[in-house]
């Protein structure tokens, strides 16, 4: 009897999961299906997920009619990749120093990092704009990259990570005559891969999906990132939902690839950022 009720419980759970998975997928499926439909089919307002007349024209049109689309893609990639690389390096360096190196003023710097942690990004938007303006960095890659190459949250996370790092390895490195930098790059970093992977996902996704700061920094269409491009695209092709959905799908792929690739580090990363301190 007990086994039977347990099994029906499991079935219930499966049904619940399946229903939620369905809810998760429907919007994507609907968007994907629209991206392969023609405009007349879209306007007729049917609810068929399989296009009546499957077409790739929407994707072709985007790249042909919107010459900047490729450019936006490249901008987004350049910015997200650069930002991610710098973050991995700089956050780890700062986190390592805060965890392992003894130097005067360290307590103060750590306090500063904690204080900065409390300041939400949106709040610095307007002053950032003014600073970038006075640097002449509006509409330039460095305008979006420079403010984002360090992240207090991940400095904190890396510090926590390095605190638990086995001391013996560094001592051995010191005996081998390696200085701090050599120890850091040759011994410590290679062993920090799980933490770095988690960081990669969060920083890359954050940069890739960011909307507000690019909106004010990148006002020249050539310098748009993809989210801005998508928004402009929507402004231009208001009625052409087939194009808008195709563009959305193209936009989603790279982030999805990164997620799929680093997926197993995700939970780990969430644990790190989940404020366990």
């Amino acid at each position: 009897m007990i086994a039977k009720s347990a099994r029906s419980w499991v079935w219930l759970l499966y049904i619940a999961l399946a229903v939620y998975a369905f809810i998760t997928f429907i919007p994507f499926a609907w968007a994907l299906s629209a991206s392969f439909k023609s405009l007349p089919e879209i306007s007729s307002g049917g609810t068929n997920f399989i296009p009546k007349a499957f077409t790739l024209d929407n994707y072709k049109t985007i790249f042909l009619q919107e010459p900047l689309f490729g450019r936006w893609l490249i901008n987004s990639i350049i910015i997200a990749v650069t930002v991610t690389l710098f973050n991995l390096l700089f956050n780890s360096m700062a986190g390592y120093a805060l965890a392992r190196i003894t130097f005067p003023g360290k307590q103060f710097l750590f306090f500063l990092v904690l204080a900065v942690l409390v300041v939400p990004g949106q709040i610095t938007l307007l002053p950032k704009f003014l600073i970038l303006k006075s640097l002449g960095w509006l509409n330039s890659y460095q305008g979006l990259i420079a403010p984002a190459i360090v992240n207090a949250t991940f400095i904190f996370m890396m510090r926590q990570f390095f605190l638990n790092f086995p001391k013996e390895l560094e001592e051995a490195a010191a005996l081998d005559g390696l200085n701090r930098f050599e120890t850091f790059f040759q011994v410590v970093m290679p062993l920090a891969k799980p933490a770095l992977a988690a960081q990669t996902i969060f920083i890359f996704m954050g940069s890739w999906n960011e909307f507000l700061l690019p909106l004010v920094v990148m006002s020249n269409p050539e310098m748009f990132t993809l989210p801005l491009g998508l928004n402009a695209f929507k402004g231009q092709y208001v009625t052409y939902w087939n194009y808008i959905m195709a563009a959305s799908m193209i936009f989603t792929l790279p982030a999805l690839a990164i997620y799929a690739f680093f997926n197993r580090y995700f939970i780990q990363g969430v644990t790190f950022t989940g404020g366990k301190g």
């Binding site: 300041v119 949106q122 909307f211 909106l215 936009f251 404020g275």
Partner: protein, 300 residues
């Protein structure tokens, strides 16, 4: 030279490398976070004109007084409160339920986890566009509702439901993130507690009430506060949804959108900065409350 004590030399070198390691962080956080914060605090008391001749005029508390009688500030705050009241509880409960289900010994759960997480990794710009397409008057949602013989809505144009549309989307997109946080927390509950409870003859329900839930309390605090802070910073969805206007009839106006409008539409930078300062104070208060509650909880 060589007589300098080894210890001294070493400590200088340590200090030097310590600061070298910290330099990028100090420079970037200094220029793009600490200076901006100072800027905000100072300029919030000025009238700033940036178009044409740049000018700064000390305005005292005028910008702050103006907030009190600015109806749109109240509307934005009201929208935010409504948003918090509806979105935060629903997404938190949804996240707990999903996490509990995925924490059972069920086959294929990692697949479900990957699938559920999809909305969270998708850009808010894309999600907003997809949902606008679904919310279309002749769109999928209305077709579905009318199939169930439920009333249909003009999701994009009716002020009564426009914000609900964004809420729905937000719950859908954020719940999985919090689900993962709960999942991580659930892994930390020592199995021995459950075993001990089983020996004492506890039912699964008792185990849930007396072990699982108390353990999840600190995480729940965290999730709720993150939800509230996220809500206060809502921008992308409202901006794209309403084409930057916060309409229909201010229904989707958020505080950050209001700040953006004052800064770049009305070109009233000083007032926008005063609003920013107000928002910062609200968010930091919430965060600090969370910190203190959170600490107490963890020491239990």
């Amino acid at each position: 030279m060589l007589n300098k004590t080894l210890w001294n030399k070493r400590s200088t070198r340590e200090t030097l490398s310590g600061y070298l390691f910290m330099t990028p962080a100090i420079v970037v956080l200094g220029i793009f976070l600490i200076i901006p914060v100072i800027f905000t605090i100072v300029l919030a008391f000025y009238r700033v004109q940036l178009l044409g001749e740049i000018s700064f005029r000390f305005a005292g508390f005028k910008n702050f007084v103006r907030m009190g009688s600015d109806e749109r500030v109240w509307i934005a705050l009201q929208n935010t409160v409504e948003y918090v009241a509806i979105v935060v509880p629903i997404q938190t409960i949804l996240a707990i339920v999903l996490a509990l289900i995925l924490n059972t010994q069920i086959k294929g759960k990692s697949w479900f986890r990957v699938a559920f997480f999809l909305p969270t990794v998708t850009s808010s710009a894309v999600l907003t566009l997809i949902f606008m397409w679904i919310y279309n008057t002749n769109g999928l949602l209305n077709s579905f509702l009318s199939f169930l013989r439920l009333p249909t809505y003009n999701w994009l144009g009716d002020p009564d439901v426009a914000l609900k549309g964004i809420m729905l989307m937000n719950i859908w997109a954020t719940a999985p993130l919090f689900m993962v946080i709960y999942l991580a927390a659930l892994q930390d509950i020592p199995e021995s507690l459950y075993e001990a409870a089983s020996i004492d003859g506890a039912t699964p329900w008792e185990k849930f009430w007396c072990i699982t839930l108390p353990f999840l309390k600190p995480v729940t605090f965290f999730v709720i506060v993150m939800g509230i802070i996220g809500t206060f910073q809502l921008f992308d969805q409202s901006y794209i949804f309403s084409g930057g206007s916060g309409g229909p009839n201010n229904a989707t106006l958020t505080i950050v959108l209001l700040i953006y409008q004052y800064a770049f539409k009305n070109l009233d930078m000083g007032y926008a900065l005063a609003l920013t300062l107000m928002l910062a104070l609200v968010i930091m208060t919430v965060t600090l409350i969370q910190r203190s509650l959170f600490k107490e909880e963890s020491f239990d």
